[in-house]
């Protein structure tokens, strides 16, 4: 009897140790990855590296591809944030548990499940070929919008649902219409949650590559002329029709082609930028959410 209790206590002790080790191991891996890239990029990662043009003869910069990453991120968000927000309002405030809402939910799940390389194929056939938008920032952003839209809708819906129903009831009881209630009461209260979600999603889009290879293009730009403001000119970096290799696609391309002796330095530093970007987006989302939350609750109390 005593030995059985002893065994149970021993098993408990061992299990606790194993579970702690797993946690330390996994967090350790993440820490090691971050430290590895920070160390590997020392000496290369600089303001000059971030802004200058790529080069074949020496360690060039990532200016143009970094520009493209931000360009496509902003373009994607311009498409998906308004649509997702409005769609989220329907799902949270109007759609009941009916069949229609079910079909929409199923569609969201299906789109989210599609591998990004398949979304890339779709973008190639649809935006690049059928719409003749070629390999461009626009085609890339639309491909990213395909799986980002259901995500944004879902996210807005959840943020809106998290608003206590008492706030709605109070507004309706005062004689406000449903839309007035949504616009003036529910939406403002949901904004912190939505903004946090947008920033977190941005981090995801920033690092995406598979869907962009066949849509935004693979050609490495040698130099961008930012004085060219003609939006219809594919040579202008401001144009949605310019071929737009992003930083993530650039890393993949470097490894598959090999641009010379500096590949490792460039890819390490570019990876470091992506990892730092993930950290910044995460911390930014938390910080921003907290600040907005304080303002919203301060205003309503």
């Amino acid at each position: 009897m005593t030995s059985r209790i002893g065994r149970s206590l021993l098993a408990d002790r061992i299990a606790t140790i194993i579970l702690w080790s797993i946690a330390v191991f996994v967090v350790g891996i993440l820490g090691a990855i971050i430290i590895h890239f920070l160390l590997a990029s020392v000496g290369t990662l600089s303001l000059d590296f971030l802004t200058s043009d790529p080069s074949r003869s020496e360690v060039g910069g990532v200016g143009p591809v970094l520009w493209n990453s931000f360009y496509i991120l902003v373009l994607t968000m311009l498409i998906t944030v308004p649509l997702g927000l409005v769609g989220g309002i329907y799902m949270a405030e109007y759609a009941g548990p009916g069949r229609l809402a079910n079909i929409i939910r199923l569609s969201q799940e299906l789109i989210s499940s599609v591998p990004s390389i398949v979304v890339g194929l779709f973008g190639l056939a649809f935006f690049v070929v059928a719409f003749h938008w070629n390999f461009s920032a626009l085609s890339g952003a639309l491909a990213l919008a395909v799986f980002n839209l259901p995500l944004m809708t879902r996210l807005s819906e959840q943020a809106l649902r998290a608003v206590p129903s008492g706030e709605r009831d109070a507004s309706l009881a005062l004689g406000a219409t449903r839309w007035q209630t949504i616009r003036n009461v529910v939406l403002p209260l949901a904004i912190p949650g939505i903004v946090t979600g947008i920033v977190l999603t941005s981090g995801r889009i920033f690092g995406e590559a598979a869907a962009l290879i066949f849509t935004a293009g693979l050609s490495t730009p040698s130099h961008y002329d930012f004085a060219n403001l003609n939006l219809a000119d594919p040579a202008s970096p401001w144009s949605p029709f310019h071929s737009a290799t992003t930083l993530s696609v650039y890393i993949w391309k470097l490894n598959s082609e090999g641009l010379g002796d500096f590949v490792r330095q460039i890819a390490d530093s570019s990876s470091a930028i992506l990892v730092i970007a993930v950290l910044v987006f995460n911390l930014g989302a938390r910080g921003l959410g907290r600040v907005l939350q304080r303002r919203v609750s301060g205003a309503s109390s």
Partner: protein
């Protein structure tokens, strides 16, 4: 005694206004929400149509496509997609086998054992973990993992390098945060009374976890792993970078091999629309789509009658 028989006082007073009857906000927001349905239809249509061209247009017989030989440049050409299907299945299952114990262990740790300060570290760490881009994992695989495997794992002239195993390891890392987060939510959702009841009987914490909490959370844990496998099967670049890209049937873990996603990634740019090679790649895209829809059905079946947390 006034009887308004079911009408609200406001309606009796003025009837429904024009704006209320049309309810523009409802219609407009519905249109935005319903775009996704249209998107699914178009995507499904396009991928399916392009995916069946290999039969309709190039007339490649099914036996050829279901063979194990992939030789698009040989004469006669062979477009057997079986090596890719087997490769995808191999890395997916292996990645799940590696990731599951770590993820479930970590989820148990966060839900049952971790003091507050530890949870405050692990939880944000998972959020950062899930955000690390695919290409960064691939690059780590090439520069750290593959050289490490080459030096430390191998015996009797049998070398691990770019291999199925390397691909599965990278994928395991990529799905780990996804599986952990969903598993954690599931374990958290197990009612506290169950734990209390068990502990009150004098069990240890581990006995309670093993015999009460885990069985209660089982379906959710399976769902978490299935969602992880769905992500693993569709992942392209990281796998392509470390797996070796040899379109042959794998015979062991150390073999360089390839997957559906890797081959599409590599070959698509080398082909021209309308040629059999290109159309065979589209068929592989269609197969990938079918795989992910099958995963969605599986998850729906597992979570039937409950709110899906993913």
């Amino acid at each position: 005694m006034t009887s308004f028989a079911g009408n609200s006082p406001a309606q009796v007073r003025r009837g429904l206004s024009w704006a209320e009857r049309i309810d523009l906000p409802r219609r407009l927001t519905f249109a935005a929400a319903a775009i996704v349905v249209l998107l699914v239809a178009i995507l499904l249509g396009f991928i399916t149509w392009n995916g069946i061209q290999v039969f309709l247009h190039s007339h490649i017989p099914l036996e050829n496509l279901l063979s194990t030989r992939w030789e698009p440049l040989a004469d006669p050409q062979a477009f057997g997609i079986l090596p890719f299907v087997v490769g995808t299945a191999g890395v997916t299952v292996l990645a799940a086998l590696i990731a599951t114990p770590l993820s479930v262990g970590l989820a148990i740790f966060m839900a049952e054992i971790a003091p507050d300060w530890a949870r405050r570290i692990v939880q944000p760490a998972m959020e950062v973990f899930v955000g690390i881009p695919s290409v960064v994992w691939g690059w780590l695989g090439i520069t750290i993992l593959v050289p490490f495997l080459r030096q430390n794992l191998g015996w009797a002239g049998f070398k691990f390098g770019f291999s199925l195993f390397a691909g599965a390891l990278v994928l395991a890392m990529m799905i780990l945060p996804t599986v952990t987060t969903i598993a954690y939510d599931t374990i958290k959702a197990v009612p506290a009374e169950l734990r209390g009841g068990s502990l009150a009987l004098g069990t240890t914490r581990w006995q309670t976890i093993r015999h009460v909490v885990l069985p209660a959370a089982l379906t959710g844990l399976v769902t978490a792993v299935v969602l992880g496998m769905m992500r693993a099967a569709g992942e392209a670049l990281a796998v392509q970078m470390v797996i070796g890209n040899r379109p042959l049937m794998p015979t062991g873990l150390a073999d360089p091999m390839t997957t559906l996603t890797s081959q599409i990634t590599l070959d698509m740019g080398n082909t021209v629309t309308g040629e059999p090679w290109n159309e065979a790649l589209w068929l592989m895209g269609l197969v990938l789509l079918a795989i992910s829809f099958a995963f969605v059905s599986l998850v729906r079946w597992l979570t039937r009658g409950r709110e899906i947390g993913a």
